[in-house]
């Protein structure tokens, strides 16, 4: 289905019937996408829907297995991001590609410094950067400031300016607000609008529906690698959009929820918790309960997890474990109080990739408890069986494992210390369906054994399917609490800062 353009102009980019497979898994099937000059085109969908892949194909990072990409009416194939860049397509990555110690101008022109008489033409570089910034209405940023000294929002601006400086006609932005605080998002809004005024085609990938509605003219929804719809923004309501994104029977089966009889006493209790990113956090998790923590990216979900687990502790408020007050000031103290933390970034934070399954599974036990003080004997084989790990044996290095099995190793390392409270942040990110199911069963099994679980997930169906209760966050605060089995709309409403009409 192709919706005709807003204007009579030819599209800047026309992608047709794009297909892409990774290792036999089809991640994109028959997807069309048109980008018109002066249009902000939102690309939305759940995690794993294929947004990033589509964007990377556009930016020349991946090559499509099927379909064509037309630029200004001509068929193109990009072998590298450089070629795409040369053709006028730039990408703003979620993670910044900036050198902190270099100035704004130096970053913007990195690798493409203008040269005059053998010297880098600083003046021109700075003037051009200033002009670019000016054109975006960003007069507050001096081209001569070291990027390290800029606030994150400004760094994001630099990243965008860097992408624009190649005379980009098409700009793809991947979660540009992910790292920004709310007041900083306004800044970006203005920026995107000005880009549009300049006739640049913007592909805007975001989870934040409000942004999508505020900024875009058209919205393309992807689900499971297929195009659901491409509709002018005006013709959609937020409810409709959410339904487009999630509207399908839940494909994963979730284990049964806990029944009230099996819920024990309150294991984890936070009152008035706050720090630089959070305020007024109050929550309880009972033994046997899985509490879901929902919210948009940047709403502070991970910050709550990090605070409870002593990584970035609460600076105010109290935390009680099994009724006694504790102050987890470091991961070590949290762990020794029985709190386990499965982090979001599995490879960066969770695993020592070049070490064996055994060493990773025992890592917390060894690191936090020394001579296994207070812990019972451990049957490693049984532990690994219990997480249904598939590996060539405990000596295999974890970097050779699939994402799902890596995540099982992460879970195993926490189970090895027999935690009372388990905080899991995006436990199924980037793993396949089968492994997801295993992780769900495992979490529920732990809950049945009396562990209190706080679960964070961006995948709403998963969160709803798993949680006995759902807490929704918005801008560093708890926006509301929903009982088991809430509708996605209800969660989204709270998460986007709206009140529920009827509680």
């Amino acid at each position: 289905m192709v919706v005709t353009g807003l204007t009579d102009e030819a599209p800047a980019v026309r992608m047709r019937a794009i297909g892409k497979q990774f290792f036999g898994n089809s991640v994109l099937r028959d997807v069309d996408l048109d980008l018109y000059p002066g249009e902000v085109h939102a690309l939305v969908g759940e995690n794993g829907a294929g947004k990033s892949t589509l964007m990377k194909i556009l930016a020349g990072v991946h090559r499509p297995d099927a379909g064509t990409v037309e630029l200004g009416g001509e068929d193109v194939t990009f072998g590298s991001p450089r070629q795409a860049q040369a053709a006028g397509i730039s990408i703003v990555h979620q993670e910044f590609n900036l050198l902190g110690d270099r100035t704004v101008a130096e970053n913007v022109f990195l690798g493409r410094e203008p040269v005059r008489r053998g010297q880098v033409d600083r003046k021109r570089m700075e003037a051009d950067t200033a002009e670019l910034l000016d054109g975006l209405g960003e007069r507050g940023i001096s081209p001569r400031t070291a990027v390290r000294r800029l606030p994150v929002a400004h760094q994001q601006v630099v990243e965008i300016v860097k992408a624009l400086s190649t005379d980009a006609k098409v700009l793809a932005m991947d979660e540009p607000t992910a790292a920004l605080a709310d007041h900083e998002v306004e800044l970006l809004y203005g920026l995107v609008k000005r880009l549009r005024e300049r006739g640049i085609a913007v592909l805007y990938v975001s989870h934040r529906l409000r942004e999508v509605f505020d900024l875009s003219q058209r919205i393309t929804v992807l689900k499971d690698g297929e195009l659901v719809t491409c509709t002018p923004t005006k013709e959609l309501t937020s409810d409709q959009l959410v339904r487009h994104m999630v509207g399908r029977p839940l494909e994963a089966q979730f284990p049964d929820l806990a029944d009230e009889a099996h819920l024990g006493r309150t294991r984890l209790s936070v009152r008035g918790g706050g720090n630089a990113r959070l305020s007024g956090i109050g929550l309880d998790v009972r033994a046997g309960e899985i509490v879901g923590l929902a919210g948009l990216q940047g709403a502070g979900r991970s910050a709550v997890a990090r605070a409870i687990c002593g990584v970035d502790p609460f600076t105010e408020g109290t935390v009680e474990l099994d009724g006694s007050p504790v102050t987890p000031t470091s991961p070590r103290s949290a762990i020794r109080h029985g709190i386990a933390f499965v982090t979001e970034d599995r490879k960066g934070d969770g695993l020592a990739l070049r070490q064996s399954v055994r060493d990773n599974a025992l890592l917390v036990r060894r690191a936090a408890f020394g001579r296994a003080r207070g812990l019972g004997a451990l049957d490693l084989a049984a532990l690994l069986r219990s997480v249904t790990l598939v590996s060539r044996g405990p000596d295999q290095e974890v970097r050779y494992l699939s994402g799902g099995n890596q995540q099982k190793v992460v879970l195993a390392k926490w189970l090895a210390v027999e935690p009372n409270v388990l905080v899991v942040d995006e436990p199924t990110r980037g793993i396949d369906v089968g492994a997801k199911r295993a992780v769900y069963d495992l979490l529920r099994g732990l809950a049945r054994e009396g562990v209190a679980i706080l679960m964070i997930s961006s995948e709403l169906p998963e969160l709803i399917g798993m949680s006995d209760r759902v807490l929704v966050m918005h801008e560093g605060r708890l926006a509301g609490e929903l009982p088991a089995g809430p509708t996605e709309e209800a969660v989204m409403t709270l998460a986007t800062g709206h009140e529920l009409e009827a509680a």
Partner: protein, 331 residues
């Protein structure tokens, strides 16, 4: 991929830690070559002599391994060895009775130097290369400032027993005490590295963030590595001082030699990879190589050139032969 758990498949067989294979192969070739070239190596005594000679370097390699595998460097060991021998000579001053308290004192001094290295590295966030380079200069100067330029006093006979003498064993003949000590330290090091602290140390070199989030005290463990390196230098000093007596040059160049040895053993600079046995094998390989070149009558100049080519080749083999694994940007 099936969902069945296949954790234990078969009884455990002896498995070589990653990177151990090549160095053991090279070592085997060298040892066989030695047997062909040097008549002394046709019986155990020859190899025992080689082990005795290699013992100090191998022990230093153990200490350096801890530091390197957790992601650091220790350049101070060479001057620490010299300092220890000089300190021992001055404190003992030929008195047998003093040996008993001087040896523990040396170990404590070594640990203390390591502690300072470790604390400055982890708390003041100075790269270990710089810290230990500074320590090298400080030790070099301080010890001779203390003794007025050249070593004073003398070592006692008792002090020298470990480094010098041996005990009779049937079949093997005289086995040097240093070889016995080495064996004990090898066992201790292997057990340590199999234990929780040892594994955590390697994990720190691989991904210190995961260890910190896993409740490990990264700073303390890194410091521990330096302390162990300092203690290994003290033990090496006791052996070297015992073997050859007081000298102002004992430790010269040892720091680079031991790093060479550890790297030769397949331990990766930057941490997270390599085994302690391989590190020691690297040290033994280096000594065996020197002995072989010596027996072949290769001039001193060629010796260092050969050493240079070998370490480059060893590391190049290890890194080019391996699937490039890019660690994510480190800050």
């Amino acid at each position: 991929m099936t969902e069945t758990s296949t954790v234990e498949r078969k009884p455990r067989r002896i498995r070589l830690a990653d990177g151990t294979g090549p160095v053991l192969a090279v070592l085997a070739v060298l040892l066989i070559a030695l047997a062909f070239v040097g008549p002394a190596y046709s019986e155990p005594a020859g190899y025992l002599a080689l082990l005795k000679r290699a013992a100090p370097l191998m022990i230093l390699a153990i200490g350096q391994y801890f530091v390197i595998v957790s992601g650091g460097f220790d350049l101070s060991v060479g001057s620490l060895v010299t300092a220890q021998v000089v300190i021992a000579a001055r404190l003992i001053d030929g008195e047998e009775g003093a040996t008993l308290w001087v040896i523990p004192l040396l170990l404590v001094t070594g640990a203390l130097v390591g502690l300072v290295n470790g604390l400055i590295t982890t708390r003041l966030l100075v790269p270990s290369f710089i810290v230990t380079l500074g320590m090298l200069l400080v030790l070099d100067g301080a010890v001779f400032l203390w003794t007025g330029g050249s070593p004073r006093g003398a070592l006692s006979e008792a002090f020298r027993v470990v480094g010098r003498e041996g005990f009779e064993v049937p079949l093997l003949g005289s086995v040097p005490w240093s070889v016995l000590l080495l064996a004990a330290l090898v066992v201790a090091a292997v057990l340590f590295m199999r234990g929780g602290t040892g594994r955590t140390l390697v994990a720190i070199g691989d991904n210190d963030k995961s260890v910190r989030l896993g409740g490990g005290r990264v700073e303390n463990l890194r410091t521990l590595a330096f302390v162990l390196s300092g203690i290994s230098a003290a033990i090496a000093a006791i052996l070297l001082g015992g073997f050859a007596g007081v000298s102002a040059q004992v430790g010269e160049g040892l720091e680079f030699r031991v790093i060479t040895a550890v790297v030769l053993g397949g331990v990766v600079l930057g941490g997270g990879r390599g085994s302690v046995v391989a590190a020691m094998a690297g040290a033994l390989t280096l000594e065996a190589l020197f002995s072989l070149l010596n027996l072949l009558g290769v001039a001193g100049g060629l010796e260092s050139a050969v050493q240079g080519v070998i370490i480059i080749a060893a590391v190049a083999y290890a890194s080019v032969g391996r699937i490039p694994f890019r660690t994510r940007r480190s800050t």
